[in-house]
Assembly symmetry: C2
Homo-oligomer: 414 residues x 2
Amino acid sequence: MSPEIIFDPYTKLYSEASSLMRSSAVRELMSVIGREDVISFGGGLPFTGALPPEDINDVMRSVMEKGMAEAFQYGETEGRDELKRELAVIMGQEGIDADPEHVLVTTGSQQALDLLARILIDSGDDIIIEGPTYLGALAAFRPAGPHMRTIHLDTEGLPVADLERVLDEWSGPAPKFVYVVPNFHNPAGVTMSPERRERLLEVAEERDLLIIEDNPYGLLRFEGKSVPPMASSGSRHVVYLGTLSKIVSPGIRIGWAYGPPPIIDRLATLKQGADLCSSTLNQMFAEEYIRLGYWEKNLDVLKRVYLSRRNAMLSALEKNFPEGSRWTRPEGGLFIWVTLPEFLDTEKMLPLAINQKVAYVPGTAFYADGTGANQMRLNFSYADEELIAEGIKRLGKVIRKEIELYHSLGLDKG
Amino acid sequence: MSPEIIFDPYTKLYSEASSLMRSSAVRELMSVIGREDVISFGGGLPFTGALPPEDINDVMRSVMEKGMAEAFQYGETEGRDELKRELAVIMGQEGIDADPEHVLVTTGSQQALDLLARILIDSGDDIIIEGPTYLGALAAFRPAGPHMRTIHLDTEGLPVADLERVLDEWSGPAPKFVYVVPNFHNPAGVTMSPERRERLLEVAEERDLLIIEDNPYGLLRFEGKSVPPMASSGSRHVVYLGTLSKIVSPGIRIGWAYGPPPIIDRLATLKQGADLCSSTLNQMFAEEYIRLGYWEKNLDVLKRVYLSRRNAMLSALEKNFPEGSRWTRPEGGLFIWVTLPEFLDTEKMLPLAINQKVAYVPGTAFYADGTGANQMRLNFSYADEELIAEGIKRLGKVIRKEIELYHSLGLDKG
């Protein structure tokens, strides 16, 4: 890798994607699309450019006043009590009446996924995932060696009837859990309907199934009416994952798991061996940032920025993408999911796109069942409106050219 | 747990110990010794009280100037290039000519232990550990399900001849690695001699054995002549682990692994699923703290403080501990290791000590082979000289009383 790529914060997310992709050619391509001259819709980076320096300085001052020696010392594995209380306040905003004692602070919610996989999955166990699903969840689950059964999403999220059909036909040991991202799905952009959430909770009760409800984007709703998380039901069949990465900052690596005490306890024991504790300095930063009310101020800014960027992307897609393509219209979050005509292959098309200095993540990276070849994930949170317009224009051209080529070769007949 | 215990930074380290101890009575006891009125030699907390606020503020200012949006954003899984260069400088101080490209930044070196266990150990594999060994290493290795073969330490560290005897008699698949803490061992306080390091390197080459060299304390030498780490040989049989926890701050959770690229690459892939990346804010804090030279200034302070506290503990031990006890005389680091008369049991004695408001970690916690009943670990980095004198006096009384009891019952004849 050339030095400018190492410096680029995009790179991580591309290598994240690339480690899951089979073709080494694509993997190499992925490593170059972090370059500054490429308009990238590939990452999952929130917009951190709006954090007011004076707010940050104020929070830092407050942390130092609270206790500098403490901030730079080890903390409890479970997380700071003060922070857990603030996280319960945040969960309260989504309708969860959370007991701070049942919260485990993790090093980003990614760590919670990793720890959950390790306590719940023995090699060869079955788990149920959405298709498409979060890339990082695949990366967290895979080392534990599960068989992953995919239920394909539609515009209302996980079709619970499909899940029930799969469970009806189930033979062998029951699946260890079903993993869902109900709000503004990454990558699919869809939100699970209230009816389906209720039904999934019933199914979980009826069949003693554990739900992992991953909710990084729930508070980033910039349109429509919010839907309570399944964890707000108080069901003992839900482990809820939250994170400050998308509403405060990913650079402080603060996430959490909230759920039944026996699970939280086992996660805490494993976390002890995994990293002893999450950063005390960052935990104190987070608790002061939340306590002083800056998080709500920042959230308002983010929602405004993301709505405007989503709109810019939707209208650019409308203008530039060929007939036969369709995309989701997320009411929050960071991602739009595009489905192109069936004969196209977004993995093969990526080099052409990068040649035109625009990037995305090909759909196959988000599936464990090999589907998604004609799909792509577009991120709208990081590039500004002007870059979005230009990038989607470039991408539209690449797709049209590819379609023309297929036409001329007679390869567009599926 | 009562609220004041949750607030106490000691607690983590006690629960760390307790999770490895079998007796649930002891486990409960461990949870109460974080109380403020107990003089605790049980933790492994470095002294963070000497960090000058103006230095910290200066570093924070420098981080914000360098790039606030960057500090609060995701970073590369492998760690920031700038930080890796600074970590290479630190390794250089111990004689390692490190290529920053082969460094993986981890969330404390604890994470490196966890990731190493996961890539190297399949359930049932053999590994070789020292006896006693670092508690956190046991916690990191155990979930992977290894058979742990213990080589008991003497005053010059790992007796390599004993290791060779064990390897000569080995049957079955070769051990996956040997794990050593060569400098100011936690808990044993001993340092591995240069001759043994050289011989261990030869043995590793001859038998294709991997050495995990864990060196959290190497730069905390306050007496005697420093001994180069085995990693300074450039051997491909060494994975070296470093951390800023003991020389800068544990609260920022910055450690690292340095070693052969194929191992570092596999660790990085697994780290991606484990937490995506370590905190960018903390990494930038660390790189500025090191770059601006504050770390050397702080290291000088720490060495002065620890030397004085070690001396206070040694003279208090001399004055208060009964005949038949012996202890190590560490030339650096944080711990003294005490061996009491054989008939004593430090786990059984702990409740009596806590009654007298003094605490330690019983020896058995540091072994995988059930030995260590008459041993204890004493930390001298956290309590000041006055508290050390008072605490060791209390502890001496407890031990003498226990010996008297055994005498009177005729139980002191081994």
